[in-house]
Symmetry: C2
């Protein structure tokens, strides 16, 4: 085998770093657009502007490349969202979380799509993660929400439904952006749009759970062209 170890021992040169980055970028596009099975190494190589054999030099096979991407995505996901505890003010914590999630959709739409495809297709490469870290995180946060409800700070809504509501509503603007854009008259979403989505969602969700929303009137609107 030519490749000594593409994963654990990144050697000195910046050539390696550069090329791996280009390949990962290309792979992110391809996997986001085609899913795991539908993606092809040929296409990834083309996007990266490298001969296919060169891609195989850095990543032995398609699965290895895909797993690397998934790992990056999970890592990003874990670090991007702060820890919420029962002591926090729920309105503030949930509001900040919604906002962070919306901005994540704006900044990392492809990561979001790859993750979504993986889950839709039955999460064959993420089952372990789902059974462990993911489950624990979610159960932990559920307890926090329950605690808030017990203290009368929020309505006694089901915590899982609330969390899934926040996730789905925010990820929608990454995963389904084509749909959103098409109704806006093919103008793409900008910073202001995302702000406006965050504000509206925060209003509905906070108020819907019995908290005081930050803005009570004059909600901003999406402009249709």
């Amino acid at each position: 085998m030519n490749n000594p170890d593409s994963q654990t021992l990144p050697r000195t040169g910046r050539i390696r770093i550069d090329n791996q980055a280009r390949i990962i970028e290309a792979a992110e596009m391809e996997f986001a657009e085609a899913g795991y099975k539908g993606a092809s190494m040929v296409s990834i190589a083309k996007r990266a502007g490298l001969p296919r054999a060169n891609v195989h030099y850095y990543f032995n096979n398609k699965l290895e490349l895909y797993n690397r991407l998934l790992l990056d995505i999970l890592q990003l996901w874990n670090t991007a969202f702060s820890q919420i505890t029962a002591e926090d003010d729920p309105a503030e914590a949930i509001g900040a979380y919604i906002r962070a999630k919306v901005m994540y959709s704006k900044t990392n739409p492809r990561a979001s799509r790859i993750f979504a495809s993986e889950i839709i297709q039955g999460a064959p490469h993420l089952s372990e993660y789902l059974e462990t870290d993911f489950r624990d995180w979610l159960r932990g946060k559920s307890r926090v929400i329950d605690a808030w409800a017990a203290q009368g700070k929020i309505d006694p809504v089901d915590p899982l439904v609330l969390i899934f509501l926040i996730w789905s509503a925010t990820q929608h603007y990454a995963d389904f952006s084509v749909q959103v854009v098409s109704v806006l008259g093919d103008r793409s979403l900008d910073e202001v749009d995302f702000e406006m989505v965050a504000t509206n969602l925060t209003h509905i969700i906070l108020k819907g759970c019995g908290m005081k929303p930050p803005t009570d009137h004059s909600l901003p609107r999406l402009a249709m062209s």
Copy 2:
């Protein structure tokens, strides 16, 4: 060409009807699990328990089969959701809509996943639909919601955000069911779960938009095993 016309002239025999149904069922599974590019006719034929050439007898190629499926899905989508008008009571109309959408996720999870994959992957086969029927429907409903807001019946939330919120939150239980199931301890979702999701979502969304939710306390919960 063997096949006279697989689309427009369904001939007499029930053989045709039976086999087409089996193939469509198989294709639905395959496309839901792999997306358009990732799906293979080999795999569809296996699922249908037919030799591949036989599948090609009924559907000339993969795209034709896929388009047929998309058409079925859009048709289902159009007929399944009633027309909401400005004269309706918003709480009732939106509540009923949320409930219908949740039940759609329960009943047609694969259709939902195929549609989701198509959109995530850039909707290459649905661009026309998105630019016409879809857009019109959505703009029409937006005006209804605006009218409700103008009459002071609901908070002046952005109508698109509200609709997307309802869609994403309800479809989540079809598209991301693996994720949901994994946190419940690998017990699959049943009728009661979907009822409970509908009730919780209705509470949050109606209240969040300034309407009176049907149940104000004692919301049901998802049981984790």
